[in-house]
């Protein structure tokens, strides 16, 4: 088994609000190996995006802080790394793409300038080399007419093209880890299929590990090797993609899978998990999912279960 590329241990990220510190991420553990695609799934507010921002050192300051735990990336603890060093790592070794490509691209710079910029900073290329490399990168992410697209501005491109440009920028320094935060949520299904295909292809070709953050179980099943399910700031289950879809253990994972309308179902009632996701900071005792869980008993309301499992690699946080 390959050595993990990144290991997160007991990460805690707090946000300071007027009601005090709220733990958005409350002690999570996860790891990702070289060349692996790992999905983090969960609903809004479960802490999946905060986890990614913690890794990148991009938490909104001063409200968000890492209150404890470690993020080991190739032996270096990113939780305590200085901003200077993080700047060198970001882009070079870890890159990130976001849900809305329009807000992450500079509207006043041409596509070519934006790709060249990171090539010149991180790979110290000359202006000319960087420009040529930019065209090659656009080609690689499946943009036809790359020679003319480099001279265009983000607003001239469609959503799918912009996300391809984002991927080109993220990958131009050959990072070892790519964090993709809902990369296809803003896109139409036919375009989503193109982008997911592209990401899988790049993963196979370049060996870049991908941390895929999404709420869409379909996307997870299509792309990921392993899955981490989060609920209210904690990991409730982790396992291989087959473990999660065929043998889900945690009642939340099972509920999530049962509540998606399937293409091969015919009407009838959908399963639904009663209640709604607790606001961060409102649950202090017992299992976070207990108030919505149909199997909850006394112990669930007072004690938090550990993440455990009999089979290697498949663990869940449940007393059952």
């Amino acid at each position: 088994m390959a050595e993990p590329l990144m290991t997160i241990q007991n990460l805690q990220t707090h946000f300071v609000t007027d009601k005090g510190a709220v733990p958005a991420v409350d002690g999570i553990d996860l790891h990702i190996r070289k060349g692996e695609i790992v999905g983090i799934v969960g609903e809004s507010g479960c802490g999946k995006s905060v986890t990614s921002l913690s890794i990148m050192g991009l938490l909104p300051k001063p409200a968000g802080t890492i209150a404890g735990g470690h993020i080991y990336f190739k032996g270096e603890d990113l939780a305590v790394t200085r901003e200077r060093r993080m700047q060198a790592l970001r882009g070079n070794e870890i890159s990130m793409i976001f849900q809305e490509p329009m807000t992450s691209l500079n509207p006043l710079m041409t596509i070519g300038e934006q790709i060249s910029e990171s090539l010149r900073i991180h790979r110290r290329m000359s202006r000319k080399e960087a420009w040529r490399e930019s065209i090659a990168m656009l080609d690689k992410v499946g943009i036809c007419r790359a020679e003319s697209i480099v001279r265009e501005y983000p607003h001239q491109l469609s959503g799918g093209m912009r996300q391809r440009v984002m991927i080109a920028i993220a990958l131009c320094c050959e990072p070892e880890l790519l964090i993709a935060d809902e990369p296809t949520t803003a896109l139409d299904v036919t375009i989503q299929a193109q982008i997911l295909d592209l990401m899988k292809k790049l993963n196979e070709e370049t060996g870049t590990a991908i941390l895929m953050i999404t709420h869409d179980l379909g996307v997870v099943a299509e792309t990921c090797h392993r899955v981490v399910v989060m609920y209210a700031g904690k990991v409730v289950e982790e396992g291989s993609v087959k473990d999660i879809f065929y043998k889900p253990r945690h009642p939340y994972t099972r509920g999530l899978i049962r509540s998606i309308p399937k293409m091969d179902s015919d009407g009838g009632r959908l399963y639904s998990i009663p209640g709604s996701v607790p606001l961060p900071g409102t649950i202090t005792e017992g299992c976070r999912f207990a108030p919505r869980c149909e199997h909850a008993y006394e112990r669930c309301r007072t004690e938090i279960p550990e993440l455990q499992g009999e089979e290697p690699g498949h663990r869940s946080r449940c007393w059952l």
Binding site: T190, I260, L270, S272
Partner: protein, 326 residues
């Protein structure tokens, strides 16, 4: 015999593109370009398509929230495009809409009780007391509690807000509800709650839904008949079973194959469409889909196919099926 509640004929909604300092009309964005369909009483009619295909504009044009450029919208025998404002206002009791974003569609400064009472006030319904009773009754119907009436929208979660929006749409006991992406802003576990609620309400209130969505699995789950739109036109329309088991139009086939399958070992035969949707301001000649169609022939580039019945309850607008010469 089924009765038609809504009939849409050749509906067209164009938005002018204005240019220059004189704001001359330089062309039109043809958001909806000749859409026709019928909805039977008590059925759920789905409209599915990708962004910019005109599905939301169709919904809004039916309600005259956007004035259509041409065509007819016949609701219970009356052409609503010809009604004056007052008559239209009265008709809105029977036709209501639920929007996608429950954060934007509820007034943040009003308490829920006021939000729900407003439609009754506008339409001069009952006394203060009757109105209050009705509000209390409906909030329970959608699964909330009467004690929550004195709260403001921001104190509710997304799913609860969508319940409030649904309660508001039901206040006047409408016959038809147009639901424009009602669950796409919600988390999966909440999405199924709202879909189940809408299903229950359909039974108890004898509702007809026009359900607009981009999510093919939600449409499959919820609708009886489905129209697939592309660039302002209906390219295929059929019973749900027929559409999903035997899609005919190349676009429908590609769309269905692109849906991520939530089964890691499930079948994956993907038709990846090349390129992007053309701009509706500059529509291609001939079939609107020919620029991306893997099956396009010479004829598709010049002649626009019309929506034709190919078998019982299955219509498609494609040259591959329509003419007997093929």
């Amino acid at each position: 015999m089924q009765t038609t509640i809504l009939e849409v004929n050749e509906l067209r909604t164009y938005f002018p593109i204005r240019k220059g300092i004189l704001q001359r009309t330089a062309g039109y964005v043809k958001a909806v370009d000749g859409v026709s369909f019928r909805v039977n009483k008590g059925e759920v009619f789905g409209i599915v398509g990708e962004s910019g295909c005109g599905k939301s504009t169709t919904g809004r044009s039916i309600l005259q929230l956007i004035k259509p450029t041409g065509g007819e919208v016949i609701f219970e025998g009356q052409d609503v495009t010809r009604l004056n404002e007052e008559a239209m206002r009265r008709l809105r009791r029977d036709m209501q809409i639920v929007f996608q974003d429950p954060f934007a569609s509820l007034n943040p400064r009003h308490k829920v009780s006021k939000i729900l009472e407003e439609p009754l006030l506008v339409h001069g319904f009952g006394t203060v007391r009757e109105r209050r009773e009705k509000v209390a009754e409906l909030i329970e119907t959608v699964g909330l509690n009467a004690s929550q009436l004195e709260r403001y929208p921001h104190q509710f979660s997304g799913g609860q807000r969508q319940r409030i929006a649904i309660a508001r749409a039901l206040m006047l006991r409408p016959k038809l509800i147009i639901a424009d992406e009602p669950v796409s802003a919600l988390d999966v576990s909440i999405q199924s709650q709202i879909l189940n609620l809408m299903q229950d309400l359909q039974q108890s209130f004898q509702l007809t839904y026009v359900f607009i969505a981009h999510d093919l699995s939600v449409i499959k789950h919820f609708c009886d008949r489905v129209a697939v739109m592309y660039l302002g036109q209906i390219v295929e329309m059929a019973d749900k079973e027929s559409l999903y088991s035997e899609p005919r139009h190349p676009y429908t086939k590609a769309l269905l194959s692109a849906v991520p399958n939530p089964d890691p070992e499930g079948p994956r035969e993907r038709i990846i469409l090349e390129g992007e949707v053309p701009s509706p301001a500059n529509m291609p000649q001939g079939c609107v889909f020919h620029t991306r169609c893997p099956m396009a022939e010479e004829r598709c580039r010049h002649e626009r196919p019309v929506l034709e019945q190919t078998s019982h309850n299955h219509a498609v607008a494609c040259h591959l099926y329509a003419s007997p010469a093929v």
